[in-house]
């Protein structure tokens, strides 16, 4: 074990303890769940202590054990397994019991009433994220570590699928919007996919250009910087007259649905934002390669294209993927804007919920976006590790 690894393991103790403390604070917070008479009511907070009764003690016990394990002298593996299991268990227990509480509340307060997950619950989830992150650092990368990292998500998914949560506000909103949800979810993914694909192609090309022709670097990144700092809505506003004019002049575009609002400005704006991190990282990766390796590649008779494809790009891949990851996560969140300019997507629920002050409807948009962003982030870093086996030391 290297010294850096050992110090990482030590620091993870403190992080896990902070997670556990945060978890206990969250369990005591006055807004664990929010109770409403109707879906647009402001509602009243109730702490998890009051809502969950005896189960509250089970959740606090989880956190206390996590803190004890983090301070213990137990070997890494059992310590990591136990602490990540318990950290993951706490929010799943809280979620399950919130569902039970919601069912009881619904029979008491009537069909119009709602129970929403409040800040106290989300804080519990955040605490679990921190604690699981720290505890899995004590484990070797592999199947066990992946299972423990994603276990809590699977648990939440199972509760949703099993109907245990169907009396929670967010799932009642889902039940009312089930058809629209599937469509908007797919549309949201479509925006992300299309924008990032365009961003990747342009980012690679511009990053390569800036690396190969240093004279072009200030122009390339100057332009991208301007796009990057332009606020989304202002950007869409600037595009509006241009796209409107274009669709009037070119019926082909109009028949494809290119208008001042709708999908076209959304994809253009998101793609423009996605270019920057990819171009930046491509440029940085290509210009920081070991010159001896490039010299050797040319010297043994690789043509310029071969040097790029067989040596430069493979070596730059981890850094480029990191840029792609930033672009994906950023675009997943950014695509909310489509809901505001007639483009649909998960943002539809967010903005509709905001206008109706129906916070559960907003959550119906926000929760899947966060889940998507986390999935992309983890998924790409997994791919990164898999593609860079050559980086491992002896």
């Amino acid at each position: 074990m290297s010294r850096t690894e050992a110090s990482l393991h030590e620091r993870a103790r403190a992080v896990a303890v902070s997670g556990a403390v945060l978890g206990i604070v969250a369990a005591l917070a006055p807004f664990g769940l929010v109770l409403r008479q109707t879906r647009i009511d402001r509602g009243a907070g109730v702490s998890l202590v009051d809502a969950l009764g005896a189960w509250w003690w089970a959740i606090v016990a989880c956190w206390l054990l996590v803190a004890l394990l983090a301070r213990s002298r137990l070997p890494l593996r059992p310590r990591g397994v136990a602490a990540s299991l318990l950290s993951g268990l706490a929010p799943v227990l809280a979620l399950w019991q919130a569902g039970v509480f919601a069912a009881a509340y619904a029979t008491k307060a009537g069909d119009l009433s709602r129970v929403s997950l409040g800040p106290g619950f989300w804080l519990t989830a955040a605490a679990a994220y921190v604690a699981v992150f720290a505890a899995t650092a004590w484990l070797e990368p592999g199947l066990l570590r992946a299972a423990l990292s994603y276990g809590p998500f699977a648990g939440a998914g199972a509760l949703v699928a099993g109907g245990a949560l169907s009396d929670l506000g967010i799932l009642k909103e889902y039940a009312n919007n089930a058809d629209a949800f599937g469509k908007q979810f797919a549309l949201h993914l479509g925006y992300v996919g299309a924008s990032v694909a365009v961003g990747l192609a342009l980012g690679l090309a511009l990053g390569l250009l800036a690396a190969r022709r240093p004279a072009s670097e200030p122009a390339v990144f100057g332009a991208l910087n301007v796009l990057q700092v332009l606020p989304t809505l202002a950007f869409i506003g600037l595009l509006y007259p241009v796209l409107t004019r274009l669709s009037e002049r070119a019926p082909v575009l109009a028949s494809l649905g290119v208008r001042g609002v709708g999908w076209a400005p959304v994809v253009i704006v998101l793609a423009a934002y996605a270019v920057y991190p990819i171009a930046r990282n491509t440029h940085a990766a290509l210009t920081s390669l070991d010159p001896a390796v490039i010299d050797a590649a040319r010297g043994i008779g690789m043509a310029p294209v071969q040097v790029l494809a067989r040596v430069e790009l493979p070596l730059a891949t981890p850094v480029i993927l990191a840029g792609l990851r930033v672009a994906l996560v950023q675009t997943t969140a950014g695509a909310i804007i489509a809901g505001l300019v007639g483009g649909g997507g998960l943002g539809t629920f967010v903005f509709l919920g905001a206008s109706e002050t129906a916070s559960d409807l907003m959550l119906l948009g926000v929760v899947p976006i966060v889940a998507l962003a986390l999935t992309f982030d983890r998924g790409l870093s997994g791919i990164e590790t898999a593609l860079t086996r050559w980086k491992e030391p002896a």
Binding site: A292, G299, M302
Partner: protein, 319 residues
């Protein structure tokens, strides 16, 4: 054969190479030697057109390289550099296979060739083939560098301070192996170094450069016996003679017949170099050594033998 004539390379008015003429005979190893900034590497890189000369020509086997496709040209020349430049994203096998793959060899032939090359440079293909460059020591990486350069069996090998970045013990071992390898393969080699010992040990001929010009091009022994000018004499210093005798073996010199009492003398194997034999005399404070071959004494070595052997110019055949 490589013929360089009138080679000049200017960088913003500064002449890195200044009208250089040099011929490297086939099957010979020529060392380009000189202080830093003498233009050695520039000359080497003009041969495979990593650098285009300002004027002058480089001909390989009678063909001006300027008329050839540089990529094709480089595939016919092995290339080894100081920082090795192994591809970190490829396994050792893939690194060695790089040029044969570029040349479109079929897979079986490549696989066989990789094993052959790794064994040639003293690495077990089973053990090293699947590793990545990051997992090798400096010396191992440099061996792989040589294997990669030799993989497509190019007639010409260009080496730019190939052993410059490894520790002294490893460097010495690599130099000896290089000498054995070259004795077997007889490639046409251009070898850049600023290490005089390395130049004397490996070079059939040494081309001593200063400020982009050639000062003298000759065998190591001739450089010692007949330096062309004061710069050559000063560059090599007084102890060049001591260095040159590393090129001779005890087996090459006329030993004294065994005298009575020779059995009491310290013994030394006939395969060692004169330099090692001299070191043995000094180290053991002995007047003479008994030279043995296959365990049987064949003669005696002392200072007189050494002096007599230096009386005539030889060809330095000991490997």
């Amino acid at each position: 054969m490589i013929e360089i004539s009138g080679l000049t390379k200017e960088y913003g008015g500064h002449r890195a190479v200044d009208g250089l003429d040099l011929t490297v005979a086939s099957g010979e190893l020529t060392v380009l030697l000189g202080p830093s900034g003498a233009g050695k590497t520039t000359v080497l890189r003009c041969i495979n057109r990593l650098i285009e000369p300002t004027s002058g020509t480089v001909c390989v086997e009678g063909v001006d390289v300027a008329t050839l496709d540089p990529v094709e040209l480089r595939r016919r020349m092995g290339y080894v550099i100081q920082n090795v430049g192994l591809f970190p994203n490829m396994t050792i096998r893939e690194n060695v296979a790089a040029v044969p793959r570029l040349l479109g060899w079929d897979k079986r032939r490549i696989a066989e060739r990789i094993d052959e090359m790794l064994e040639l440079v003293g690495l077990d293909p089973e053990r090293y083939g699947g590793k990545y460059p990051r997992q090798l020591s400096g010396g191992e990486a440099q061996r792989v560098g040589v294997a990669r350069a030799l993989a497509a069996d190019p007639p010409i090998l260009l080496m730019d301070e190939p052993f410059g970045a490894v520790d002294p013990l490893t460097r010495e071992r690599l130099q000896r192996e290089m000498r054995h390898l070259q004795a077997r393969l007889r490639k046409t080699v251009v070898f850049v170094t600023h290490d005089i010992d390395e130049a004397v040990l490996l070079g059939d001929r040494i081309a001593l450069m200063r400020d982009g010009r050639l000062e003298q091009h000759d065998t190591p022994e001739a450089l010692w016996r007949r330096p062309a000018n004061e710069f050559v004499r000063r560059f090599f210093g007084e102890n060049l003679g001591l260095r040159v005798i590393i090129r001779y073996c005890l087996a090459d010199v006329r030993l004294k017949p065994l005298e009575e009492g020779a059995t009491a003398l310290p013994r030394i194997d006939a395969g060692v170099t004169l330099k090692e034999a001299l070191a043995e005399l000094v180290g053991r404070r002995a007047r003479a050594l008994a030279v043995v071959r296959d365990g049987a004494p064949i003669g005696m070595f002392d200072f007189d033998v050494l002096l007599a052997s230096l009386a005539e110019e030889g060809d330095g055949a000991c490997s």
